[in-house]
């Protein structure tokens, strides 16, 4: 499933004490994502990365431009159809109160998959991710943050979307859980052929995971290309500043 972003723009309005403020969150962004690739969107906080993902899942509407999914405008697609093809994992696990099983069944029930088939599917992915079935009956509040995020990813995977959007899913995790999630994402892409758009401000993660990347700074596309190339020989000064700035931070 190919994605093509065409002159995408997003202006947001914020009102405080009846004074409207306009801010250009994304400005005329165009790029392409190929089938079955892991594509990283990198940039500092507030560069518009999350907004870009939300536009793909149509949790927000763009103010200009379009996103094409296999040549068809997502703005002309029925929103439920689109969200079936494109799943999203948020920065926080965003699990629903209840058991792990209830969470996993949420999307399956919406797709009218019966209990038996749902259970088969859940077991298949649990064994695939090497997670013990015992976890199904556990209340989500008894899970660690790392386990919660893995369940949140699993909740999206079992719906078998063609594209998964990931918004810094490791931001609240410790290094060992982060590594677990990163290897899980690689596997999903390699074994299941799922296209993944991965948003991060951490260059190491982009390097480990992605084939190609887009550098986004202040809502502007600064650079797009093979991840390795961007890091080894950035074409733009802004990219160099960003990489250098981050290296200093480490």
């Amino acid at each position: 499933m190919k994605l093509s972003f065409q002159n995408l723009s997003k202006v947001k309005f914020t009102a405080k004490n009846h004074i409207f403020k306009e801010s250009q969150v994304l400005n005329d962004i165009s790029f392409k994502i190929e089938e079955k690739e892991i594509f990283a969107v990198i940039g500092p906080s507030g560069s518009g990365k999350t907004t870009l993902l939300r536009l793909v899942n149509r949790l927000e509407e763009p103010t200009g431009g379009d996103i094409l999914l296999d040549g068809k405008s997502i703005l002309k697609m029925e929103v439920f159809k689109l969200r079936r093809k494109i799943g999203m994992v948020f920065q926080v696990p965003a699990l629903f109160l209840g058991t792990v099983e209830e969470n996993l069944f949420y999307g399956l029930t919406l797709r009218k998959i019966n209990r038996e088939d749902g259970q088969i599917r859940i077991k298949k992915y649990l064994s695939y991710l090497e997670i013990d079935e015992e976890i199904l009956s556990r209340d989500i509040n008894t899970l660690s943050l790392g386990q919660q995020q893995r369940i949140s990813i699993l909740r999206t995977i079992i719906l078998e979307p063609e594209v998964i959007l990931m918004d810094e899913p490791t931001s609240s995790l410790d290094p060992s859980n982060t590594n677990l999630i990163l290897s899980l994402i690689k596997e999903l892409n390699q074994k299941l052929g799922i296209t993944i758009i991965y948003v991060t401000h951490l260059m190491e993660q982009a390097k480990i995971l992605s084939h190609r990347s887009l550098v986004l700074i202040n809502g502007e596309k600064v650079e797009e290309g093979e991840t390795e190339k961007i890091f080894s020989s950035p074409a733009k000064q802004e990219t160099r500043d960003f990489i250098f700035g981050k290296l200093v931070n480490f």
Partner: protein
């Protein structure tokens, strides 16, 4: 029925009750004297005024006058319900006033038409106080529901958006917030039902007993009142929440940004 009537002089004597409250507030330097005086005066004037209006309406006994009064009660209740809600949603007044009208209409039909079998249906002695109780309680429920809905939506935005991205429609996705809002709206009524008759005797029943009614008859009325308040509050809450949740989302099942951001 016989009861002791209260004259104007008696009312003046009752001002000593306000006087004692004022004295305590003054001595404790709470600085609420002005509010107490305004409150006492407003209660005095508003109740005298409504007493006069009710007397005229009872004497004229015309259905259109009675319905006009009930409509005014609903219009004011809609305004008052929203006064206590911190954030605005589009068409909020229309939603709340509409919900109050529909639930008051249905409940009044059931209570006056089927239970009490009042004839004629607009007999003000029954219709006005019962409508007042329904509207007053439903108004509080609508207000609590709306306020809680908006704070829960903000609190649970990630759950709501996760549900949307998993394929839920706006109503299913907002269920997490709606559930809490529904509970918040009905808990005061349910709590009252739990303790009624044990800790406190409710106003209507007390009024009937003072007016000379047989306590057993008064109790039956009170049971009817409690059931009717619960039913009307539930219906008002349901309608208010259902219509309000539509306003919080776009037609593409997106949570509107103004309900997520800090005010």
């Amino acid at each position: 029925m016989s009861y002791i009537k209260i004259s104007f002089i008696d009312l003046l004597v009752s001002l000593s009750l306000i006087g004692s409250a004022l004295l305590i507030i003054y001595l404790e330097k709470i600085k609420l004297e002005k509010d107490i005086l305004i409150g006492a005066l407003r209660a005095f004037l508003q109740l005298l005024l409504i007493g006069c209006i009710l007397k005229i309406i009872f004497d004229l006994n015309k259905w259109y006058l009675i319905l006009t009064l009930v409509s005014i009660m609903i219009l004011i209740a809609g305004y008052d319900a929203l006064r206590r809600v911190k954030k605005r949603i589009p068409y909020a007044y229309l939603i709340v006033a509409g919900a109050l009208t529909l639930s008051a209409g249905i409940t009044l039909f059931l209570v006056l038409g089927l239970v009490l079998k009042v004839k004629p249906w607009f007999t003000p002695q029954y219709l006005i106080p019962i409508a007042g109780m329904i509207i007053g309680n439903s108004m509080s429920a609508a207000s609590l529901a709306l306020d809680r809905l908006l704070s829960e939506v903000k609190l649970r935005r990630y759950e709501i958006e996760a549900a949307l991205s998993l394929g839920a429609g706006f109503y299913q996705a907002s269920h997490f917030a709606l559930k809490e809002a529904f509970r918040a709206a009905l808990i005061p009524t349910l709590n009252t039902m739990m303790i009624v008759g044990v800790v406190q005797l409710p106003g209507m029943m007390t009024g009937q007993i003072i007016a000379g009614a047989n306590p057993q008859d008064a109790v039956r009325y009170q049971i009817l009142v409690m059931y009717m308040i619960l039913s009307a509050s539930t219906l008002t809450t349901f309608l208010t929440l259902r219509c309000s949740s539509m306003q919080i989302f776009t037609k593409f099942h997106q949570l509107k940004e103004e309900y997520i951001l800090e005010n």
